[in-house]
């Protein structure tokens, strides 16, 4: 009798329409809410949360996404442990987030072992990271993607000598290598290379060194946030540009949300980047409007925010396409071929071969638009693949 009842019950449950069976996709999100990148981590997180909030209603009926947020405190060891816990204890189906590349490097091998896909949605450095595991896809950009064009561009201006000054961690190393390769390949000569400590450095002595070395162009990388403003102020205090030294930098030197703190100091500076809040695209205008609604009129998103937004978009698209039921390999196939012709940053697509992103890289100049500083896009390098992987194909 009992058996029969059970069978009947099971049959009844199985025949229920799908929506009544709640399907929850657990996604582990690791970010650095503390430590020297906490400001950019916050910008990225806001982008992620905004997409989640705006699009939660678009999920198929009965399907939910649960975000489990963890703080790696800017420490790779902690990040690795958190990823282990998320995989083994919380049984997450996907991992995402990660702003600090060393954390991504520490977590990547776990994703191969446990077969849990990782969508890197804030970190951009460590050009080889997707090669560490077939379960890693990166939706941000690579430092090579933004810095290599800057090296070419600097050489095209007729500048012969260059000096690099970068933050001494993996992102700075990538940026330095990319710029140097492009600049020297185009016939330029490097006359100096400095690295400053990652946490709260005083930039003044370094800027003095550059000024005294008198290069045609100084290539500068700092990890965004208040360090960007500190660097711009140090350059002004010492009169680097007045001494006839040109500046070339990736977008990290002029994050859109820091521009209001810089006064008029960065006017005319040229950077290369994947996103500017001043980008003239309908998708960007919609994104900006949603951002201002959520975070206030004064708040400004930057490239990290858009990376977070796009990373969440990719996960939502997977969940929508599969109604929340997918294996790790199905997810990776989906991610590797994912594209969006209409991201706030322009058209983007994941390269199925490298699992890095293909996107426009913009050359931008700081100008005054409606009385406020903006990174105005003045040239576009369309649908650029990661140059490092083009130069270094897998053996």
């Amino acid at each position: 009798m009992f058996r029969k009842l059970m069978v009947a019950l099971v049959a009844a449950v199985a025949s229920l329409p799908a929506p009544l069976l709640a399907q929850t996709v657990k996604v582990g999100l690791i970010n650095s809410y503390n430590g020297f990148v906490s400001q950019v981590a916050d910008q990225g997180q806001k982008g992620t949360d905004l997409y989640f909030k705006e699009h939660e209603k678009d999920l198929p009926p009965g399907v939910k996404i649960e975000l489990l947020k963890r703080d790696d405190t800017s420490n790779p060891e902690v990040g690795k442990r958190l990823a282990q816990e998320l995989i083994t204890r919380d049984h997450v189906q996907l991992l995402t987030g990660i702003v600090l590349s060393p954390v991504a490097t520490a977590v990547a091998p776990l994703t191969a072992e446990a077969k849990v896909p990782l969508v890197i949605s804030y970190a951009a450095a460590g050009v080889t990271i997707p090669r560490l595991s077939p379960y890693v896809v990166r939706v941000t950009f690579t430092l090579w993607q933004e810095s290599y064009p800057m090296g070419k561009w600097a050489a095209e201006q007729g500048w012969k000598t260059a000096y690099t000054a970068v933050t001494d961690f993996i992102a700075g190393h990538d940026a330095e290598a990319a710029f140097t390769r492009a600049f020297t390949d185009a016939g330029g000569k490097m006359i100096g290379a400095d690295r400053f400590p990652p946490a709260n450095p005083d930039f003044t002595p370094f800027v003095h060194r550059i000024k005294d070395a008198k290069p045609d162009v100084a290539f500068i990388f700092v990890p965004g946030g208040t360090q960007a403003t500190a660097m711009i102020r140090a350059m002004n205090d010492i009169g680097l540009r007045e001494a006839g030294i040109n500046i070339a930098a990736p977008q990290d030197l002029l994050p859109d949300e820091e521009l209001p703190n810089m006064g008029d100091l960065p006017l005319g500076l040229i950077t290369s980047g994947t996103y500017s809040a001043a980008g003239k695209r309908p998708a960007n205008e919609a994104f900006l409007a949603a951002w201002k609604r959520a975070y206030g009129e004064k708040s400004v998103p930057d490239f990290f925010s858009v990376d977070g937004w796009d990373g969440m978009a990719m996960i939502f698209d997977l969940v929508k396409a599969t109604k929340g039921k997918f294996t790790a390999d199905e997810a990776m196939t989906f991610f590797s071929h994912w594209q969006n012709p209409d991201s706030p940053r322009g058209p983007i697509a994941i390269d199925p071969v490298t699992r890095d992103i293909i996107q426009n890289v913009y050359i931008r100049r700081v100008e005054k638009v409606d009385g406020k500083l903006a990174n105005v896009e003045i040239a576009t390098i369309p649908m650029l693949k990661d140059p490092w992987k083009e130069l270094n194909p897998p053996k």
Binding site: T226, I238, G239
Partner: protein, 290 residues
């Protein structure tokens, strides 16, 4: 030749600016250690508080920079009095391990407290327009803010020396440092003296933290990140001295700037080497009493 000269001038200038900040912050620590025999590892917390107060007063209250500086100094000095009365005085003359445990605990509380109130991000100092950009002195251009820092520091150092060497309060402090029991027996109220000195030292640290918010970034980890430098200044300068920490701060400030400028790949190596050399040569510091 011109290049070498310009490099030397730059190192001296930036080293001096850094030294002023280090001195203002550390002198209070040196005096509390020398006078009260109290190992106050939490001294940097007062400097951090100064930095937070000055940035908050300017950003949230829209106070002009000079008034924000005054506000930060007074706030920190006033806030340090209850800390001294309620916590520190119980440990005077006590076990050094107890003092270290108490104050390092306070440091950790400050990290958590600052994160709770101001968040984990660095609070940038936005100097007023008249202090940004370079000033041209004819032969070379100097950053305006750091020039201001050096002038301020020089004025404060002079005032401090005069008050310790020439005033009655200074004479009492010197007497108490030299021989506490004798000072007590000639009728100096050392308990009140301790309180006043402590508040003065903390206020100076607050001012140093506020003035130096541009050099030593104001963030929750401040007291821990910079502790080593404050301790080095005190150890190299010698405990209980007003003069010692000044020369120590100069030495450390200039050596640190020079090593960043000349050999950045070595990091803080030269500072530690220098500290070890000085302490091997004079174990109680440049101006300390053996």
């Amino acid at each position: 030749m011109g290049d070498i000269l310009s490099a030397a001038v730059n190192i001296a200038f930036n080293g001096l600016a850094y030294a002023m900040v280090l001195y203002l912050i550390s002198v209070g620590l040196s005096v509390t250690m020398g006078l009260m025999g109290f190992v106050n590892l939490a001294h940097g917390v007062f400097a951090m508080a100064g930095g937070y107060v000055v940035t908050s007063l300017m950003k949230d209250q829209g106070l002009p920079f000079p008034w924000a500086l005054v506000g930060a100094t007074l706030t920190v000095a006033a806030a340090s009095i209850p800390v001294e009365r309620l916590l520190y005085r119980r440990f005077y003359g006590g076990d050094e391990l107890d003092q270290v445990l108490l104050t390092i605990g306070l440091v950790f509380m400050s990290v958590a407290g600052a994160t709770f109130i101001w968040g984990p991000l660095q609070q940038p100092l936005q100097p007023p327009a008249w202090l940004t950009g370079p000033v041209d002195l004819g032969f070379q251009r100097f950053p305006a803010y750091r020039s201001f820092l050096i002038l301020c520091g020089a004025a404060l150092v002079t005032a401090l020396w005069l008050s310790v060497e020439r005033t009655r309060f200074g004479a009492r402090v010197r007497a108490a440092v030299d021989n506490l029991r004798m000072a007590q027996s000639v009728g100096i109220d050392t308990s009140r003296l301790f309180m006043a000195t402590f508040a003065l030292g903390s206020g100076l640290a607050g001012l140093g933290g506020a003035l130096g918010a541009d050099l030593l970034a104001v963030n929750p980890g401040y007291a821990l990140q910079n502790l080593i430098y404050f301790l080095i200044v005190v150890a190299v300068g010698g405990l209980g001295s007003i003069r010692g920490p000044f020369f120590a701060a100069l030495l450390i400030g200039i050596a640190d700037t020079a090593s960043k400028y000349l050999a950045p790949e070595f990091g803080a190596f030269f500072i530690y080497a220098l500290t070890m050399a000085v302490l091997l040569w004079r174990p109680s510091g440049l101006f300390g009493r053996a």
